[in-house]
Symmetry: C2
Subunit: 575 residues, 2 copies
C-alpha cells in the first residue's frame, strides 16, 4: 500500500473523553471514529488491524475443527422468551419492534439462535459433536460505554457454540478450545494468561477467562511465574502459612495509640512491622433473618484485605456493621476494635492470623491498642479459621509451585461449559445409541475481536504511540523515502524495495507523500508499524538503507542487498 492511495488521518490531540491510553491512541492514529456513545466506525487503518486479528482467530478455529456459519444480528423475541432471557437480560438488551409490531432484539450473543438451528437439524448422536462459530457484530447497550472500543456497545465478536452427546465429550472440546485460544493469543503476539473464572451471568459451570496483561486492565489477576496458575485476585486461594503458630512469648499490654486508627499508623507508631498487627472487621451475619446473629468479627492481618466473596462463602449472607451497632455492642468506635474480652461473640479468623502469636490489635477503647495478644490465652480460640482475604504478591501459589505475583489484565476471551442450560430450555435433544432422547451438552467460547485491538495497545505503547506486534500491525514494514519527489535515486530505490518486499508477501506501506521526515517518522511511530526502513541519498551512496525497529533505541545501516532477508527473518522470528 502507498500512503497516497490510503487514508491516514492522524490527530495531534486525543479527544477529551478518552480515559485510557488505547482509546487516546486509536483516535489519534485515526483507527476509529466515534459515531455515538460506544459506537465507532473502524477507519481503514483500524480495520486492517481488526482483519488481521480476525484472520488468526478464523484459521485457528478452523484448524480446531469448528465450522463457521453466520447468524443474524436481528433476532425474534420468541427465542429469548423461550430461554427466559427476554425477562432476565435487562436493559443491556437492545429491543425493537418491526413494522408489524413484532418484538426483536439486536443480538448481544447467540446461544438461543444456534440452539434453535441445532435442534432443527441435529437428531442423532451420530451427528455429534458439532462446533459452530461465527465472527459477527454484536450489540450490548452498556449503561456507560467507555474506553473507546474496549467497552463499546457495538463490537465484533467470535462466538462459538459446541454440542455434545456427553459431558465427557464437552470436556474434551473445552480442552481443545483452551489450547486453541492459547495458540490464538500466542500467534497474535500478546502476553496473556488464562485464568479460572467465575461463570458470571451467562450460566453454567466451568470456565476460563483469557486476559491480555496490561497495567491499565480492569481485572486484577494473581499468577505464578513458575507454573501456569493464574486466577482473578478475588478467586485465588490464600493458603495457610506453612509454619504453625509459635508459642506466646510476650505478655499482653495496653498501650496508648492516640489518633492511630489504621494498622499502618499503629505499626509505625509502635515501631513494629505491619505484619504483626491484626485488623478487625465487624459484621452482621444473616442480616435479613428475623433475628440476625450478634455482631461478629473477622480478623485479618494488618497488610491483608477482606475478600467478600470468600467471606460470604464461609458465613453466608452478611453485611458490614454500622458504627452505631459497633458502639452499642463493644462500647468503642471503629479503629480501636479487638477480639479480647468480647464474650461469646463469634470470631472468624483468616488463616494468616490464626498462625500469629504476640500480635497487636485494638483494645476496644478509643485511643488504645493491645500488644502481645495471643489466642488461647487472651482471646478465645477462633470460632472458624478460613481463607477470608485477597492474595498478595509473595503468597505461595495454590498449586504449590512458587510464589504469586499480581498483575492487571483485559479480558479478551472466555470459554464456558454451559452444560444443558440452553439445550434444556429450548428442548435441544438427540437420540443416543440406545434410541433414548437426551438433552445435549453445550459449550460456548467467545473472543472479543474488537477488544483485542484495544488490549494490544494497552499492552504495547510508549510515549510516541502504539507498539503493535507484527502479527496485527496495520502494516509490517514502512518505507520512508527522504525526498521521494526530489531525488530520482531515492524514488527508484524506494520503489524497488517496495516491489521486492510486496512480492515476498510482506505487508508494506510506502510513504510517497513528500511530507517532512519528522512528520513521517512521527506518524509511522504513532500508528505502530514495527519495522521502518529509511531510504536516503546519503545511505544509498554507500549502498545502504537505515533500519529501525519500533522498540529499538538506535537505528542501524544495512546493505541494500540484505534488507529483504533481514526483514523476513525479523518477521518470521516474531510470528
Amino acid at each position: 500500500m502507498r500512503t497516497s492511495r490510503f487514508f491516514l488521518a492522524t490527530l495531534k490531540e486525543a479527544p477529551s473523553d478518552a480515559e485510557v491510553i488505547s482509546h487516546q491512541l486509536m483516535v489519534r492514529a485515526g483507527m476509529i471514529k466515534r459515531l455515538a456513545g460506544g459506537i465507532y466506525t473502524w477507519m481503514p487503518l483500524g480495520l486492517r488491524v481488526l482483519r488481521k486479528v480476525e484472520r488468526v482467530v478464523r484459521e485457528e478455529m478452523d484448524r480446531a475443527g469448528a465450522i463457521e456459519l453466520s447468524m443474524p444480528a436481528v433476532q425474534p423475541a420468541e427465542l429469548w422468551q423461550e430461554s427466559g432471557r427476554w425477562e432476565k437480560y435487562g436493559p443491556e438488551l437492545l429491543r425493537c419492534k418491526d413494522r408489524h409490531q413484532r418484538d426483536f432484539v439486536i443480538g448481544p450473543t447467540h446461544e438461543e439462535v444456534i440452539t434453535d438451528v441445532v435442534r432443527k437439524d441435529v437428531k442423532s448422536y451420530r451427528q455429534l459433536p458439532l462446533h459452530f462459530y461465527q465472527v459477527q457484530v454484536k450489540f450490548r447497550d452498556e449503561i456507560r460505554p467507555r474506553f473507546g472500543i474496549m467497552r463499546g456497545r457495538e463490537f465484533l465478536m467470535k462466538d462459538g457454540y459446541s454440542f455434545h452427546s456427553s459431558f465427557a465429550d464437552l470436556q474434551r472440546e473445552y480442552r481443545n478450545m483452551f489450547e486453541t485460544y492459547t495458540r490464538i493469543f500466542t500467534r497474535l503476539g500478546l502476553k496473556f494468561r488464562a485464568v479460572a473464572a467465575d461463570t458470571g451471568s451467562i450460566g453454567g459451570t466451568g470456565s476460563h477467562e483469557f486476559h491480555v496483561l496490561a497495567d491499565s486492565g480492569e481485572d486484577a489477576l494473581a499468577y505464578c511465574p513458575d507454573s501456569d496458575f493464574a486466577a482473578n485476585v478475588e478467586l485465588a486461594e490464600a493458603l495457610a502459612p506453612a509454619a504453625a503458630r509459635p508459642p506466646a512469648a510476650e505478655s499482653m499490654q495496653k498501650v496508648a495509640t492516640p489518633g492511630r486508627i489504621t494498622c499502618a499508623d499503629v505499626a509505625e507508631f509502635l515501631g513494629l512491622p505491619l505484619i504483626r498487627t491484626v485488623k478487625v472487621i465487624a459484621v452482621v451475619v444473616d442480616p435479613e433473618a428475623e433475628k440476625p446473629g450478634p455482631l461478629a468479627m473477622i480478623l485479618l492481618r494488618g497488610d491483608h484485605n477482606l475478600n467478600e466473596v470468600k467471606a460470604a462463602k464461609q458465613l453466608g449472607e452478611f453485611r458490614f456493621a454500622r458504627e452505631d451497632e459497633i458502639i452499642g455492642a463493644l462500647g468503642c468506635q471503629p479503629g480501636y476494635l479487638g477480639p479480647v474480652a468480647v464474650g461469646e461473640r463469634p470470631i472468624y479468623v483468616d488463616r494468616s492470623v490464626a498462625a500469629m502469636a504476640d500480635f497487636v490489635c485494638g483494645a476496644n477503647e478509643a485511643g488504645y491498642h493491645l500488644t502481645g495478644v495471643n489466642f488461647g490465652r487472651d482471646v478465645a480460640e477462633p470460632t472458624l479459621v478460613a481463607d477470608f482475604r485477597n492474595v498478595v504478591a509473595g503468597d505461595p501459589s495454590p498449586d504449590g509451585k512458587g510464589q504469586l505475583e499480581l498483575c492487571r489484565g483485559v479480558e479478551v476471551g472466555h470459554i464456558f461449559q454451559l452444560r444443558t442450560k440452553y439445550a434444556e430450555a429450548l428442548k435441544c435433544s438427540f437420540l443416543d445409541e440406545g434410541g433414548q432422547s437426551k438433552i445435549m451438552e453445550m459449550g460456548c467460547y467467545g473472543i472479543g475481536v474488537t477488544r483485542i485491538v484495544g488490549a494490544a495497545i494497552e499492552q504495547g505503547h510508549d510515549q510516541r504511540g502504539i507498539c503493535f506486534p507484527a502479527a496485527i500491525a496495520p502494516f509490517e514494514v514502512c518505507i520512508v523515502p527522504m525526498g521521494y519527489a526530489k531525488s530520482e535515486t531515492v524514488k527508484a530505490a524506494a520503489e524497488t524495495l517496495y516491489a521486492e518486499l510486496s512480492t515476498a508477501g510482506i505487508d508494506v506501506l510506502l510513504d510517497d507523500r513528500n511530507e517532512r521526515p519528522g512528520v513521517m517518522f512521527a506518524e509511522m511511530e504513532l500508528i505502530g508499524i514495527p519495522h521502518r526502513v529509511v531510504v536516503g541519498d546519503r545511505g544509498l551512496a554507500e549502498g545502504k538503507l537505515e533500519y529501525k525497529g519500533r522498540g529499538d533505541a538506535e537505528s542501524q545501516m544495512l546493505p541494500l542487498a540484505e534488507i529483504g532477508a533481514f526483514l523476513k527473518a525479523r518477521l518470521c522470528a516474531a510470528s
Copy 2:
C-alpha cells in the same frame, strides 16, 4: 475439507413458502436456515459461497483504489434527521430506542454515516478524491420479505461512497466503478447486463443497474446482442419505424365484429395480422386540475403495450378514463373505441401507429370495427406523435446497432451519481484550490452480496440442483470414493488425490462418510459442486478415475496421473 468434519444437512423437500427456485434449492442444499421472515442464518455451506463472492468484490474494489472501512449497523437518528430521511424513509427503516430513550436506526444504507466521517476528516481539495467502501450487514424492514435471501430483511451488502471536488471527477470514478463492477460479475462467472436505470428513491442523477440474467428475474430488460445496450424495458426507447407512412390504399369500411373486443380477437376474426390493428386507450389528462381536459385517446399498435412512465413524460399527470366517462363521451363501451369522428378530442399517437396506413380500429359502436382507416383522410392528424409504448423483441436497438431482445434480470448492483444531495444536507464541504468553500460531489455504489448468491442459482440450476460457477461454488471439486471404509486401495487413492489437489490450492471436498454412491452423487449435484471425481476399485485397477463436470451428460475415465492437471486447466479456464 472432509464431509466428516463439515456440516452438510440437505433436505429432500423444499419448504412450502419457497416460491422461487433459488430459495427452494438454498434451503434444500442446507445453505440457509430461516430464523424469522426475511432473516436467515447462513449455514456453513452457504457461508462458503458468500465468502467467495465477498472476496472477489473486495479484491476488485481494492484494485480500483477504493479503501475499505467498516461503519456501525446501529446509527443515531440525528444524522437521519439532518439528511431528512428520518421522515422520508418510511417503515422500511427499522428504528429503536436505546436504554436512555435516544432514537437509533438499524442502518439500511450508510450515506449519512460516511458523509459525517468525511465532513469531519476531509477539509481540502488535496485530500480528494476519496472512495470508501465496506462489506456490511444491512437491515430493511420489507413489508413482504420473500424469495429467501433474494428479498430478505437482513442482508450483506458492499456499499461504497466516493467524494470529489468536481462533477468531472465524479464521472471519472463512476466510469471506474462501471468497469470494476463489470470485472466483478465477470469474475464471478455470471451472465449479466449493465442497464441504464431510473435512480429510484436514493436520489441524484445518473445511474446504472447491474442485472444477473435469469428467467425468474423480477425485472424485464431489453438488450441488444450486437452491442452493449441494455435497459429496463420500461426505460428503453421505442424508435420510430424507419419507413415513412405509406399512402392510403383501402377505403374505410365498417364491419361487424360481434363479441370481439381485443385486437387479437378482431385480427383473427378478420383474418388480418395483429400489427394491422390499433388499440385506443382513453385517458383523462391532468385529472386533479379544477377543469380536467376532455377525454383523450392514446393510440397503440395492437401488439404493443402502453408504457405509463413514457406517457406521463409526454402528457404530464393522467389517469385511465372510467367506463362511465367513456360511454358518456363516446357513446360506446370500451372494446370498440376508435379515433374516427371524435371531434376536437386530443389524439396521442405512438410512433408505430403514426407510420400505419389502412389500419383497423373500433367504430365507437358496440359490435363494430372499421378497416382501411387512414390518418388525414378518416382521422385527424395526431395531436402528438411520441414514444408511448414498451419495446418488444425485434425492435431496433436505440443505439442503432441491431435488434432488441428481451430477458429478465435480478438486480445485484447499482451505481449512482448522487451529486450533492447528501453533501449539501450534511454540509460536507472542502476548500478548493482558491480557498473557496465548496460542497463535495458524491457517488455511491452498491452490490447485494447475499443476493448474488440467489441470483447465481436462479441463473444456474437444473432438475438435480444448483449449478454454481466454479468461482463461487462452495467447493470446486468433490472426491467421491466408492467404498472409503471397505477398500484400502480406494481410501489410499482418494486421500492421495485429496492431498494433491489441496496442495495445488484447489478447494476440494472429500466425501469420507461411507454413504451409498447414489446418495453422495445426488448431494454433490444438489449443492452445485462443478467438478466430481469418483474413485473406485474398478477404475483404479486400470490406473483411472472417473470425472464428470456438473453440466456434462456423460462421465469420462482419466488416468490417475493426469487428473490434477486436468482439473487445474478446467478451473483456470473458468476463471
